[in-house]
């Protein structure tokens, strides 16, 4: 016992000494990675790809050729300063602001490339961001999220940062800075269906979540109260969770087609073997496990003494559930909702395969046409949606936890 304690104390002492040594002298590890990645990308990777039209393969253009010399030089200087600040052990907020600034500069630069590269007699030519853009963007995004994580910001501050990020992206979109890029050219062609698919993407993700809450919350409450029901339900939901999404959509098709054909009125309601109905049901089934499981865990975590006191003071089962148990379980249940929403936003993409709609439509059309730009038109908003949902629900969980 004694020796174990002193050994761990020694280890702790050793670690803090090593940490202090790093702090006094050398570099920030993540900063070194970011800087190396940035410079390697600038030197060896093309910044954008220039193609004669949307489906031929093109040639890579590095940052100095893709931009006017003065712009390219200024940009490299800014990026180098931020990278240097990342290597040195600078204050965390400086790293955050620097990384954010570098990302804005990067986003601005990429918009500057099309007018520089494409002449007036090349209306079909396309400019797509390439390796260097994505790698540098990735490096600084890493630096930014690391710095924000280390700042231990409260939920409201994190929401504010998300809002600022959206504001900046919106400003770029509205100002037309990115209009020359190939993704925006795809958007120009698909602008009608884009918003329609966006709406059906969000609808599918939210409707399946809503259904899972309506069914899963009562089921979770019932499972928590009855160990036998719990033993029956959770393993089944676990198995459902392991079915690959494409297989799940496939499994839905036959029974739903049969249902639509045999049950009068079903087809009129839009129930068919393909389309929204199987997508919705599959997503709903995937959503059940996190909702039911987290409801059970959340209710289990309510202090037994609070429950005994509640019962001893004459609260009914209903009053205990609504007034004490569910409010105390809410942060854990919301964690389940976060998992469901992020998971569903991703899975809706696959639903396009069976005619479910959503951003996946562009992804699969793009794959079919070998048009990467169209794939990006579907992929980028999906990622933005999933990321925002995660940030917003994380913040919500923290806000609610702060109140209990």
């Amino acid at each position: 016992m004694n020796s174990g304690f002193s050994a761990s104390a020694t280890r702790r002492g050793f670690r803090s000494a090593a940490f202090a040594g790093l702090k006094r002298g050398s570099f920030d590890k993540l900063g070194v990675v970011v800087a190396l990645l940035t410079f390697a990308a600038l030197l060896f990777e093309p910044f954008v790809t220039l193609r004669a039209n949307r489906i031929v393969s093109g040639k890579g253009v590095n940052v100095f050729d893709a931009l006017p010399h003065a712009t390219a030089f200024a940009a490299v200087v800014v990026i180098a300063i931020v990278a240097a600040a990342a290597i040195a052990r600078t204050a965390t907020w400086i790293r955050a602001v620097g990384a954010g600034l570098a990302l804005v500069v990067l986003a601005f630069l990429v918009g500057e490339t099309p007018p520089h590269l494409i002449g007036p007699n090349q209306p079909l030519a396309r400019v797509t961001p390439a390796g260097a853009f994505w790698l540098i963007g990735f490096a600084f995004a890493l630096l930014l999220t690391d710095a924000i994580g280390r700042l231990r910001l409260g939920p409201w501050a994190r929401l504010a940062i998300l809002a600022v990020a959206f504001g900046i992206a919106a400003a770029f979109l509205v100002s037309g800075q990115w209009d020359g890029l190939s993704v925006m050219k795809e958007y120009a062609v698909h602008s009608d269906s884009f918003w329609q698919e966006a709406a059906s993407h969000v609808e599918l993700a939210l409707a399946s979540l809503g259904g899972a809450l309506v069914v899963g919350l009562p089921l979770g409450v019932a499972c928590q109260a009855s160990p036998r029901l719990r033993e029956l339900t959770l393993p089944v939901l676990n198995i459902v969770q392991t079915i690959p999404s494409i297989a799940m959509y496939g499994l839905m098709m036959a029974p739903l087609a049969w249902f639509a054909a045999k049950v009068p009125g079903a087809a009129e309601l839009g129930i068919r073997g393909i389309g929204t109905a199987p997508a919705l049901i599959a997503l709903f089934l995937y959503s059940l496990l996190p909702v039911v499981g987290n409801t059970v865990v959340g209710l289990d975590s309510v202090p037994a003494q609070s429950l005994e006191a509640a019962q001893g003071m004459g609260m009914t089962r209903r009053q205990r559930l609504l007034g004490i148990e569910l409010p105390l379980a809410t942060p854990v249940i919301l964690t389940g909702v976060r998992i469901v929403l992020v998971q569903n936003i991703g899975l809706v993409t696959i639903a396009a395969l069976i005619g479910g709609g959503g951003f996946g439509v562009f992804v699969f059309q793009g794959i079919g046409q070998a048009a990467t730009d169209l794939v990006l038109l579907g992929a980028i908003p999906t990622i933005a949606l999933a990321f925002s949902a995660a940030v917003i629900l994380d913040a919500l969980v923290d806000i609610l936890k702060g109140k209990t």
Partner: protein, 312 residues
């Protein structure tokens, strides 16, 4: 106030409470003492029907407890438990208001009652009403738990090891507080404890339980002086018995005329504390004064020793 007759509760093969009968007079404290598994907590839960009896009956204030629904019954009986069981997401004020709200009191009346209780328990409302339980110390949480239990002015308060989670110094203070409040409010308390000293300190009457049966029911002095053969004898018969006996008496009972040197002690001091004081000071006798400081005489070591050994 509480009339328990032939009360039994069976869990499968186990007879947790075995035809227990006793009565608790209004405005008194009765302590249920026993080891864990003795059935004392089950008995307490049978009184407010958190557990339904297998047979027998409970009358509270003359009315059969089984005549109303369990919830309605419990709203009329205070209930405080070990570790207080406060609702962590509710403020102190809302926690205290739980039962009044269940009973549908109007808002101003609830607010007045909460403020009154916070004052009674020495928690300044402006400072504490809007705090969450986790922002309070353990002792404060325990006081809020008791305040919540008596918020709707019940005539009966049930307490299950209410001081069990407190450290010894705070526990002593909490026990004194509950005695003071009980005297002020005149509530009838039935309290479960495994600590005999706590039962002696708080109880007007002590009920000793073992294996589901009520072995002896009497005043602390009776239990200490004439313990029933077997379990009760072993429970009270330890090396502390003379000291426990002394803790029941006051200095006033043994004052004799005469003089003694040293600072006077109060006539309200327990004989146990007086003995301790005499031994510590190394004197044979100490002067005794009234609460107001008037000299009353003296108390001597031999007198206390004689008292401690009298019935042993």
């Amino acid at each position: 106030m509480i009339e328990v007759s032939n009360l039994s509760r069976r869990f499968g093969e186990l007879l947790a409470v075995d035809s227990v009968s006793f009565g608790v007079a209004a405005g008194t404290i009765t302590a249920l003492v026993g080891t864990s598994g003795s059935g004392k907590s089950t008995l307490l839960r049978l009184v407010n029907r958190l557990i339904e009896p297998t047979s027998g009956s409970v009358k509270i204030d003359g009315r059969d407890a089984a005549a109303v629904s369990g919830e309605e019954l419990r709203r009329g009986i205070g209930y405080a438990i070990q570790g207080n069981g406060l609702f962590p997401h509710w403020t102190v004020a809302r926690n205290i208001a739980t039962v009044p709200e269940l009973l549908g009191w109007d808002k101003p009346r609830i607010a007045r009652r909460v403020e009154e209780l916070l004052h009674l328990f020495g928690l300044e409302p402006a400072l504490y009403a809007h705090k969450l339980p986790r922002q309070l110390s353990g002792g404060q949480q325990q006081r809020v738990g008791v305040a919540r239990a008596i918020a709707a002015e019940p005539k009966v308060l049930l307490m299950d090891e209410p001081f069990g989670a407190l450290d010894p110094i705070i526990r002593l203070k909490a026990q004194e507080d509950i005695l003071a409040i009980q005297r002020r409010v005149g509530i009838t308390i039935l309290l479960v404890t495994h600590d005999l000293d706590e039962a002696i300190r708080l109880g007007d009457r002590i009920a000793v339980m073992d294996s589901g049966r009520l072995l002896q029911y009497g005043s602390p002095a009776e239990i200490l002086a004439n313990p029933a053969r077997g379990f009760v004898e072993r429970l009270v018969g330890g090396a502390d018995r003379p000291l426990r006996l002394l803790s029941l008496g006051k200095v006033a009972e043994l004052v004799e005329p005469g003089q003694a040197a040293g600072a006077p002690i109060s006539e309200a001091t327990s004989l146990r504390d007086a003995l301790s004081d005499l031994l510590w000071r190394g004197s044979e006798a100490l002067p005794v004064a009234s609460d107001k400081g008037a000299p009353l005489g003296r108390i001597t070591l031999p007198a206390i020793v004689a008292r401690a050994g009298r019935r042993a």
